[in-house]
């Protein structure tokens, strides 16, 4: 089960980091992690209608003393841009786990523009960006990103390569 192990390890990291609110948009790359969060009684799984809702949720959770995480695809990173301003202005931790589309062996050309813009767009809004190219690095990188976010009160995104997630097959 090498393919399912990296989400399991990330789930373990999120538990250890006392992440309570797990906000997500539907995503096949995060499907396993979403299932784990939904089954975890110490976590609240919160499906969103759009990614920016999760940014605002993170601010509310932090005001109330809870840690959150936002699971999304690179396709939705752009939806967060204006909302990231409230995180920057209030110096609030935000941990974003972004699975990449349009980046590694992509079939669908419509996924490429936002994929190409994900890093510059997030960085333009003050988000520290870390990348994962190998499944074996995922948990360690998420752990480091969570510490950076929650200990220094800043937005941090971990971009998980399509190479790790697996390229969507159109057949």
């Amino acid at each position: 089960m090498a393919q399912s192990s990296w989400p399991d390890l990330i789930h373990r990291v999120l538990r250890a980091q006392r992440v309570r609110q797990v906000a997500y948009v539907p995503d096949s790359g995060h499907a396993r992690l979403i299932d784990l969060a939904r089954a975890d009684r110490e976590m609240r799984a919160i499906p969103l209608t759009t990614e920016e809702e999760g940014v605002a949720l993170a601010l509310g959770a932090w005001l109330g003393g809870e840690r959150s995480v936002l699971l999304l695809q690179s396709s939705g990173a752009g939806n967060c841009i204006n909302m990231l301003g409230i995180i920057d202005e209030c110096r609030v931790p935000l941990l974003m786990l972004v699975t990449m589309r349009g980046e590694w062996g992509e079939f669908n050309p419509w996924q490429v523009p936002m994929s190409q813009a994900t890093i510059p767009a997030l960085e333009a809004m003050g988000v520290a960006v870390k990348t994962v190219e190998r499944a074996g690095d995922a948990a360690e990188t998420v752990d480091a990103a969570a510490r950076l976010a929650f200990n220094t009160y800043r937005p941090v995104a971990v971009l998980i390569s399509q190479r790790v997630v697996g390229t969507k097959e159109f057949k």
Partner: protein
Amino acid sequence: MTARHKSPTLDRRKVAAEILENRGDALVVAGLGAPCWDIAAAGDHPLNFYVWGGMGSAAMIGLGLALAQPRRRVIVITGDGEMLMGLGALATIGVQQPRNLALVVEDNEHYGETGMQQTHTRFGVDLAGVAKAAGFRAAATIRNAAQLRSWIPKLYRRPGPVFIDVKVTTARAPLVLPPRDGTILRERFREALLGPQAARE
């Protein structure tokens, strides 16, 4: 939309003041623009969180807070334009069913901070209807003082999520500006709610 339009009569300052008069230990989130000034005019409080930006965020900030603090009542007071920009949040809140969350929209049917253009509600879009359809346990449109008086206790005590859309006039009120530095607003809120250890989290 062809619904016959009824002009709002309630004064937004009085509405906000009445809602917050007996707030107890409730946590209050103010949506950007005039609701911030209304809530500041009703009395600044460390457990008021004024959102000066991020239009469309107020309801979701309220949800994150309500889930983190299930024993405290969370009251979000925002405007119709702000609510319309984050309409999906009503569906997200409908799924979560936070019993301690109430949303109040001060609905003047205009974008008051940006040139007084009419909002969708002026043309009949029914925010309370959307909230009800999204799964809010109680939702109503409020048009007069008697209705408001009967709904205020429900904002604090009825199992949520609760939603009211209060029709208010476009009359201008004097600016009453709350603090605006986000880090100060965040930290005084967290300290008042979580105690001095919040700064060491």
